[in-house]
């Protein structure tokens, strides 16, 4: 449904996106992940026909993003990461504006606006002014606008950024519902846990390069060799513990906070036991020594941090 082929975008000497290629099949939910400034928004804007590539091509539902922007706009619903609303407009006027802009005839408009408001739980705000809505409401309104012409493809840039935990959960439930409706969704985020539940596949991007793409399990498996050890120390021997850990061959990075030392570790269970032994013989009073289970967020941190450092 969505194909990106060797997409490159340069601004002068700066390469925002470098030779990016990936494919998203029909009905898939693709999580596009990367730190701020990685090139996610650039790629998304390219797919939303807002950006001309330096080189490369993209296709959405068989239409070229470069050559047939109008055909692409007809099949996508786009929600930018940062968007504003028009002043002096009520919720229904805002949706009517976009419905007319998407050439929906009057006969259907009333029904569709009602349905979309219902879906996003905004019916009670129908006559409220849009610039008086809270951030979460605005985000939902923008999603309503995105759905108004019932597009088969949704391109959502950071739909949950800046939302409080409840609004975040609600947004997640909504996206799940949209997935159930059979829509192909490209959704970007820098918060992986948000996506892990319902994404069928993910792509991790940093500094304009695609570092990993595929299903979540696949990527997790690839990174299993990295483990994180968390050591809690009782007294003032935290420094000593950190020094010993840093000294070890298998340890990559060490971070300490208060009485806790966290180490990124590469090795087998025996190596871990040996490390624990060294700490005890050095007289460190250990309260707990355990391996942290690898969350998707940490997977992401590991992949991306490697390049930044």
């Amino acid at each position: 449904m969505i194909e990106v082929m060797n997409f490159t975008k340069r601004y002068g000497d700066f390469v925002a996106v470098d030779d990016l290629s990936f494919t998203i099949g029909k009905g898939e939910v693709f999580g596009f992940i990367g730190p701020n400034g990685a090139g996610k928004s650039t790629t998304i804007r390219f797919l939303a026909t807002l950006l001309r590539p330096t080189s490369g091509e993209g296709r959405v539902a068989g239409h070229s993003v470069v050559a047939e922007p109008m055909a692409v706009r007809r099949v996508i619903g786009f929600m930018p990461d940062d968007f504003g609303v028009y002043d002096g407009m009520k919720v229904w006027e805002f949706l009517d504006f976009f419905a007319v802009a998407y050439e929906i005839p009057l006969a259907y408009r009333k029904k569709i606006i009602g349905e979309v408001l219902e879906l996003l739980d905004l019916t009670h705000k129908r006559d409220a002014y849009v610039n008086g809505l809270s951030k979460g409401m605005k985000q939902r309104l923008c999603l309503a606008k995105t759905l108004i012409h019932d597009p088969p493809v949704l391109i959502l840039d950071e739909p949950a950024s800046g939302l409080d935990p409840r609004a975040r959960l609600e947004m997640k439930a909504l996206l799940n519902e949209l997935r159930g409706m059979g829509k192909t969704i490209l959704v970007s985020s820098h918060i992986l846990s948000e996506l892990s539940d319902f994404c069928t596949s993910i792509g991790i991007i940093e500094r304009g390069k695609l570092l990993a793409a595929g299903s979540i399990q696949e990527i997790q498996r690839r990174l299993r060799s990295h483990r994180v050890i968390k050591v809690r120390v009782l007294d003032e021997s935290t420094d000593r513990a950190a020094a010993i850990l840093r000294d070890d061959r298998g340890v990559h990075t060490v971070e300490r906070y208060d009485h806790t030392v966290t180490a990124e570790f590469e090795g087998q269970d025996e190596d871990m036991a040996r490390l624990l032994g060294r700490l005890i013989t050095a007289g460190v009073t250990i309260q707990s020594f355990a391996e942290e289970p690898l969350s998707l967020e940490e997977v992401f941190m590991m992949i991306t941090k490697g390049i930044v450092n």
Binding site: K9, L50, G88, F97, F98, A101, K110, I113, N131
Partner: protein, 561 residues
Amino acid sequence: MLIRDNPVLTRELLVNLRSPRAFALQVAYVAFLAAVVYFYWPPEAGGTSQVGPGKARRLFDLFFFGQFFLIALVAPTFAAGSITGEKERKTYEMLLSSPLQPTTILIGKLLGSLSYLVILIVSSLPLMILCFLLGGILLSEIARAYLVLVMAAVTFGLLSVGCSSIFRRTSSALMVSYLVILPSAVLCLWLTRSDPNNLVQREFVSFLTVAVLPPWCLALWTVVAIVISRRLLRPPDVGSEGKDVVDEEEELKYAIGVVIDRDLFPDKLFAPAKRTELMPDGTNPVLDKELRSEIFSQGTLMLRVVIQVSMVLSIPLMAFLLFVRWERAAYYVAYVLTFNLLVGPVFSAGSITQERERQTLSLLLTTLLTPRRIILAKLLAALRVSTVLTFLLTEQLFLAYFLVRELRDRIWTLLVFLLIIATTCLATTTIGLLCSTLSRRTSVAIVLTYMTLLALFIGPVGLDWYLQGFSFTPERLAALTITSPYSAAFSITMPLNRGTGFSIEQPNVPPPVLVELIPGLGLGLPVWAWFLMLYPPLCLVLFGVTYLAFRWRWWRAGGLG
């Protein structure tokens, strides 16, 4: 703390003066003034020998008036954005929550925005002294002129900072500043004009400028400074980024003077009533949105101020220029044109940049709306508001042509005046829209529009005045002014008034100056005819350029990236 180590001032100075552009502009300004003096320098003067005082005085006046108007025009462009800029960049609350005193902020903003202007004025001093060498001018006159210039700079700057603290957008602040400053600048010059040969009058004017003006200015500064400081100390316009929903009905309850009612004529001409039903098929949604929803998006304050000030000013002008001295009807038209010059760009110069600044452009551009429909809607909406507001001021013209017999006898001139005004509305809107498409920020677009319009509309008038000192034929001079609606209005000859030999039976109408643009063709037309022929096709071309620029810069070029 107020001036030394004032962080606000330091920042403003850095931003305004650090750029190479500021230096280049200063060099260009001094070079321009030097060229004016060089070409004006009488060939017979040869060194320091003195010539007749007439020429020296003309040059002195040119410098003084030129710089006075430069201050009136440029001071607001720097100062009116000084506080609204903070609001637009969302740094206002950070600034206010700092331990800085309101006075410190105010002084920093004021001096920061005036510093560049003052540097420009001071750098013209050596050239002004040259006029002194020509003789006929006293050194005290030069000193007085600079005193007036500095006082004007501070007054106009302070008024603009005041507007900036009241309004939320630079465009509103800028326009209201101009609306307050330009009439007072003209009034100020008119009050202090003096006949160079009348010694008593000259003495009186110098008494005015040295003894009367400074204390009044000081009083005004104090009042404005107190008002601004209060607003900075307890800002009524922060919270929710200062842009909560504007409730029109609530606002109108507290409005002073004119209220705007969308259901009544003529208000509904520029602000049609809000929809209660969905739009019918085939509506241009952008046009509908601009007129019905967005026109009062920042409240009705700006429009109410504009309508009231322009109406109040028009009454004495009408009485004097259309009834007492009806042969000066063109001066009233000039007032209407100035109003449009100020108001027209505000509605068009922000139309594209504001979509960008409010981050709605990407929503708009991913719909199925074609760039042609978007741009056309923007043009029509801005043109409608600007034209209706401007034509509200022409009812006085209709009244005069109905009541004054001498004007009624030349009814065709009314038609030409109206055409000139309508053409000017079209020109200001089209140029504003072009600048909005080419700029990234509304404040830049508005200043760019004003500068372009000044170059097209006022520039030729100034050039004409300057070149009168040379031996050009009136036809050659008039040919330079066909881009100016002012020259077009003044080129419509009116019969001389009673006192100078008027009779109804044989109205004494001086022959118009005919301009032949293409020599040898024998097509001599007055300036107004050229003006009316020039602008419609020019606007069409500019609109085409705007369309292409919008298409390439925003619609397909990723200017949003």
